[in-house]
């Protein structure tokens, strides 16, 4: 599975995606789970929005399908590459519809319904100009255009 882990590059934020070592070589998004309501939330909330109960941090998924997307072509924030692709992905494992980035190399091939899988890449920089790891979704091989 294609992802970048460099001990020198920190995640852009805590508790959004799993850290290595990865089970099955696959990172996962992290969210919140309320065992009383049996519901998942992303990102992890401080309290359960339904019952105010205690939230556990849990993996919420690493595979999904694209619900919608766009490609942003303006100057970017946080040193993100230009252009970049973003969208909403329906996660297979928990059914959550999550906002995320796509692999900048694949933005020309994004389609509603395409199958994607979570990756972790160095995307963007922090306030001090240091690169940061961000989660991004890449197209499953059978969704990539082989005719190019």
């Amino acid at each position: 599975m294609d992802f970048e882990t460099d001990n020198e590059i920190l995640p852009f934020a805590k508790n959004i995606f799993t850290q290595p070592p990865y089970k099955n070589n696959q990172p996962s998004l992290l969210g919140g789970f309320c065992s009383d309501c049996n519901d998942y939330f992303f990102p992890e909330p401080g309290y359960c929005p339904e019952c105010l109960g205690k939230i556990q941090n849990r993996p919420i998924g690493s595979k999904g399908t694209i619900y919608s997307f766009t490609v942003v072509r303006t100057p970017t924030l946080f040193g993100l590459p230009s252009p970049y692709g973003i969208g909403y992905i329906d996660l297979m494992e928990t059914g959550l519809r999550v906002f995320g980035m796509f692999d900048p190399k694949e933005i020309g091939q994004l389609k509603i319904g395409a199958k994607v899988v979570l990756s972790v890449k160095s995307l963007g920089k922090d306030r001090h100009g240091s690169p940061r790891l961000r989660p991004c979704f890449t197209l499953e091989p059978d969704n990539l255009n082989r005719s190019i």
Binding site: F12, A13, I16, F41, F42, P43, Y67, S68, F69, T70, V71, V72, R73, T74, P75, T76, L77, F78, L80, Y84, I86, G87, Y88, D90, G95, L96, R97, F99, G100, M101, I112, R134, P135
Partner: protein, 381 residues
Amino acid sequence: MALASVIGVGIIPFGKHREKTIIDMGAKAGYLALKDAGIDPSKIEAGFFANGLAGRLFGDNTIGQNVFWELGINKIPIVNVENACTSGSSAFYLAYNMVAANQVEIAMVIGAEKMCVPELGLINSGETELDTQLGLIAPASFAMRAIRYMNEFDCAPKQIAQIAVKNRNHAQLNPHAQFQVPISLDEVMNSPMIADPLTRFQCCPIADGAAAVIICSKNIAKQISRSVNIDSAVLCTGGYGNNQDMVLWETDTRGCNLAYEKAGIGPKDIDVIECHDAFTISEILHYEALGLCEPGQGIRFLEEGHSQLGGKKPVNVSGGLLSRGHPVGATGVAQIYEIVTQLRNEGGPRQVKDAKVGLAHCMGGDKSGDTKSCTVAILSV
């Protein structure tokens, strides 16, 4: 029975006001509203000042009191209101409620924004929001709605883009609009791409500007000519449900339905509409949330001419956010200005014939694939 009325409105032309401060602009709009109402500033019993960005851009927090003092208004309760693009309409909602609750007899709303400055940057929902950290900017959330809309209802980007052409045509007739020159569909489609499929002319321009409104009790309104009834004014917050449907917009629909319910009317009763066309696709979606047409029929509604001046449901005859410009804190108040002007039959060349019932709709903020805030007000004569 309406619980409050609008008795005065004021607006300054929207555009670049490099030499003017927020205080200059807000006070000018306020001055015009006071003159329009024909009442003395000493009669104002509460003030609400709407602004979105002055704290971030200039360190100008709590500046509403300065604006009101420029008009000689002091000592009364004054609140500074920030609710993104619904700052102005939220201030209107608060002022309306204070009068409707009989806490005061006359309240004033001023919305002003100075944002045509190099340090503005990209409009987003702030660094704390995860989605911003992953690249979400304001145009992108609507761009994703457009992509989904085209997928579900089989239409082309240029069909959505027609909204920009329509609202520019309307703006020719509005001396307060930032952009009054008509634009062709080709020009709209050929402008630089911002976030697929929204090109630059499909995104509302930044602008400086101010507008003001004076609200009073029914008793006072009886003594003042040209008063307009406020039948309902609602404010909703996003539901943030997961999965969020990005075409059938639950929060938008909920806000519109609540306003209709409180006013005791339906979409068929509305003669003129100002809605939040921050992007072309926004107006299409709002036709559907407002119940002007069925879900998926928004493009057809537009193409059949119903939302043009002269059509059965004119929308944004002022030019809307797309052509009037969008000084964040002023927009919600400017929409009320337009509806009141229409209902007073003072719209001049852009007057909607026999307009008796009007609706102002606005939205602000992005969170969890939803809006944060939605306001709808219904007024009538």
